[in-house]
Symmetry: C2
DNA sequence: TCGATAGTTCGATATTTTTCGAATTTTGGC
DNA sequence: GCCAAAATTCGAAAAATATCGAACTATCGA
């Protein structure tokens, strides 16, 4: 399985992060990962076709927001909390505490 | 001159804010407004046609990030600092302090 | 090895944004 | 009233994103 590129902490670009977070579905994924720690893709899909879910996870991954590791046949996704915090202090807590959007 | 709608503080949607900030030119406008306080559109345009500049100011305005007031024939734009801070505490300082993107 | 499950990739289409010139609006000054 | 300056609106064309099914890949277990 080819590995998607994932930027190092210092390489994370804020415009990419903002773009990734500007989609409601992706924002929801980020928030659920924040609560659940790790989750598979399918655990977070909502009737969407797999290809669409996969696309959104890829956007999050390439923006530097999540990390994906293989666990058997499934892939577990997690927020890159420390990396994001180091790169953009305060951003994540701000995103997570912003309610009723 | 028709007035562009501008959301009340509580109506500002975080996905709209993120979308507005996901463009390098718009992010630059926000940062310059943070430094300069107020500025006309043309003061911030960089060789771009006026219609393009106007478009980006409109996106920022409709997202709730800036406010525009008439000053004679020119329009002065300013960040809605307090409104943004009330709605999404910490976001603005995070955006403004994020460097070398 | 065969199947089943989980995701990714591909390709085509649809939707959304961006871009830019031209026309228009608004305001102040002459 | 007219002209110039500042910005918005319109319309069309280009570029970027999103969507979805189908084909493909990888891993585990029977």
């Amino acid at each position: 399985m080819r590995h998607a590129r994932l930027p190092a902490s210092e390489e994370i670009a804020i415009v990419d992060v903002f773009h990734a977070l500007s989609d409601p579905f992706r924002l929801q994924i980020v928030r659920r990962l924040a609560v659940e720690g790790e989750a598979s893709c399918q655990a977070l899909e909502g009737d969407r076709p797999k290809s669409s879910v996969s696309h959104h996870f890829r956007v999050l991954r390439e923006a530097g927001l999540i990390r994906t590791r293989n666990e058997g046949a499934t892939r577990m996704n997690a927020l890159r909390r420390e990396d994001i915090e180091r790169r953009f202090p305060g951003l994540l807590s701000c995103v997570l505490s912003a309610r009723n959007d």
